[in-house]
């Protein structure tokens, strides 16, 4: 199984790719790649189709229908709705349906990437991704994730106990005798846990506030981010300086996180391994992003932008961009190679 960090980078690359284009050919390509990765890397569910296809089967027609009926732009008129219908009562065009469908496809592609990410990455691996600077946040999340099964068990036990006493859940009001014992039981557990943590010395060393210098650096980082962003928004002639400000701000916040993280004692029970497989996946994502975002001479970035208005036309397809998007296939190729190696 791939490292959660590699999966996170892959999901982000899918997000950036799907958000960077409105060309349906590229969006469909991203969607097919995400579905191929989902099929290759996750256990098959009964019913066959990947989750993204089932989501798309609802999202694409709905988006097309909504846009088609409410937007009255475009030259290919399909039919006209009576003028007395508020919002709907004008010509309904093929272009409006197409634009809505493209929006639905983009949404499905983004959903598809994160759906695969959610399915292949266990929650405990995601918690382990928490930077050391957020060790308290990591503990809160760990406690929450550990307590969820206990809470679910408690909920069932309370329901059974109330049912034995003749209590039946018919409406919202009937949840009160179930919710209150669940809450009070949870709070009692929290109290016991807090006492146990204090008894074991939690916070004896690290329970200290940040230094004023660290706080000042954090404030400075946020200020640089804000000023940089405002510059890019309102002063386009200073865009480069604005981006520099945002990078400096992000760098300051990142540096502070690293510094705070270093002061937290941390023991790794089982070290995460970064192998050539993860390297291959990240390399594939880097290739995709380079083809989409960098100004490469053999890539026609203009084909990324597409609008069906005013008259629907076939979108252009640049083989360079298509080839770049194929970089997202990394996880599927790695899974296939592993499967072949196991068979041998």
């Amino acid at each position: 199984m791939l490292d959660a960090r590699a999966w996170l980078l892959w999901a982000l690359a899918v997000l950036v790719t799907a958000s960077s284009t409105r060309n349906p050919l590229y969006v469909v390509l991203v969607l097919l790649i995400a579905a191929a990765v989902e099929l290759a890397c996750t256990p098959r569910r009964r019913g066959g189709l990947p989750a993204s296809f089932r989501f798309g089967a609802v999202a694409v027609p709905l988006a097309a229908l909504f846009n088609g009926l409410t937007v009255h732009l475009g030259e290919t008129v399909l039919f006209r709705l009576p003028g007395w219908l508020p919002l709907l009562g004008r010509p309904v065009t093929l272009e409006a349906f197409a634009y809505g469908a493209i929006n639905g496809l983009t949404l499905t592609a983004i959903f598809s990437g994160f759906s695969t990410f959610n399915r292949v990455t266990p929650a405990r691996d995601l918690v382990r991704l928490t930077p050391r600077a957020f060790h308290e946040a990591g503990i809160v999340l760990s406690i929450a994730l550990t307590f969820v099964p206990q809470m679910t068990r408690s909920l069932n036990q309370i329901r059974e106990a109330q049912a034995v006493r003749g209590h039946r859940v018919r409406g919202l009001r009937d949840w009160l005798p179930i919710f209150v014992p669940l809450l009070v039981g949870g709070l009692e557990r929290a109290l016991g846990l807090a006492e146990a943590m204090v008894a074991r010395g939690y916070g004896a060393i690290s329970d200290q506030a940040h230094s004023p210098r660290a706080q000042a650096l954090l404030a400075l980082g946020l200020l640089a981010l804000l000023l940089g962003w405002l510059t890019t928004l309102f002063l386009p002639q200073w865009r480069v300086a604005g981006i520099g400000g945002m990078i400096a701000g992000a760098g300051l916040i990142g540096g502070l996180l690293w510094r705070v993280g270093r002061s937290v004692a941390h023991t790794t029970y089982r070290a995460r391994r970064w192998t050539a497989r993860e390297g291959l996946v990240v390399l594939g994502c880097a290739v995709t992003l380079a083809f989409l975002l960098a100004l490469l001479p053999f890539v026609d970035r203009e084909t990324l932008y597409y609008s069906p208005y005013p008259r629907l036309a076939l979108p252009a397809f640049d083989p360079g961009v298509g080839l770049g998007i194929l970089g997202l296939l990394g996880p599927a190729l790695v899974a296939k190679a592993e499967e072949t190696a196991c068979d041998d």
Binding site: S19, L141, L145, L218, L222
Partner: protein
Amino acid sequence: MRRIISGAIYVLSATIGVLAFVYPFFDVSRQPQASAHTQDAPLITAALVGLSVVALLVELQGRAISAKTVALLGVLVAIASVLRFIETAVPMPGGFSPIFAPIILAGYVFGGRFGFLMGTFTLLASALITGGVGPWLPYQMFTAGWAGMTAGWLGKIPTDVLIRNLQSSVSKTRDWRLEIGLLCAFGFVWGLLYGVIINVYFWPFAAGPATQAWAPGLGLWETLGRYGVFYAVTSLGWDMARAVGNVALILLLGPATVRALSRFRKRFHFEVWPDA
């Protein structure tokens, strides 16, 4: 000095968060270069929101979270996450979600800082459990955090009845009508406000009729008017289910939950003094 810097951090991250949601209302795209970068805008905005959430969490953590807060937060987040799990398993009407009532009630009893953490962690933990991690998550965390934080401010309203109520855990001496009425109104407003805020971040990129769509060069009032129509047509009904659901849950569970949380707030005030 520490308080001033801390206040500056809160103000700066809140400003970034608010701007991330409302920047489409400003006339940015009148600039000729801006239109070429409209595709990047959602990604940059999501990254900025993520960074400001990170900065705010660092600041909140830096003020030394005790074992009691960590344990209490963990367990309450687990309870709220179980409620979201139920919501995912059993379809609820419209945008109704049972997770907002616990966030509001916890923020009201334990204060704004706890409420913010409860809101952000509830959305994060429940997203991990239900597979809801995505680019929308930083916005959801920020907005739920604001709901929890502002609920904490409700408890600071200088009303004699409220102060007396919050200091008292004995239900017979409490005047629940004002307290629960206030919380119901707050839950109703946040039920709608959550949708209003979350919708703003994708509205400029959503297709729609001219009377509802964002366009470059519109004035503030015209933009607000168009967003109002867009919201009323696409989301009001959906969000109304959430607002009414919040009111129903707070009416039903509010008094018992506030009573239990107030009692435990007192019990959580133990201090460990090591031997000299």
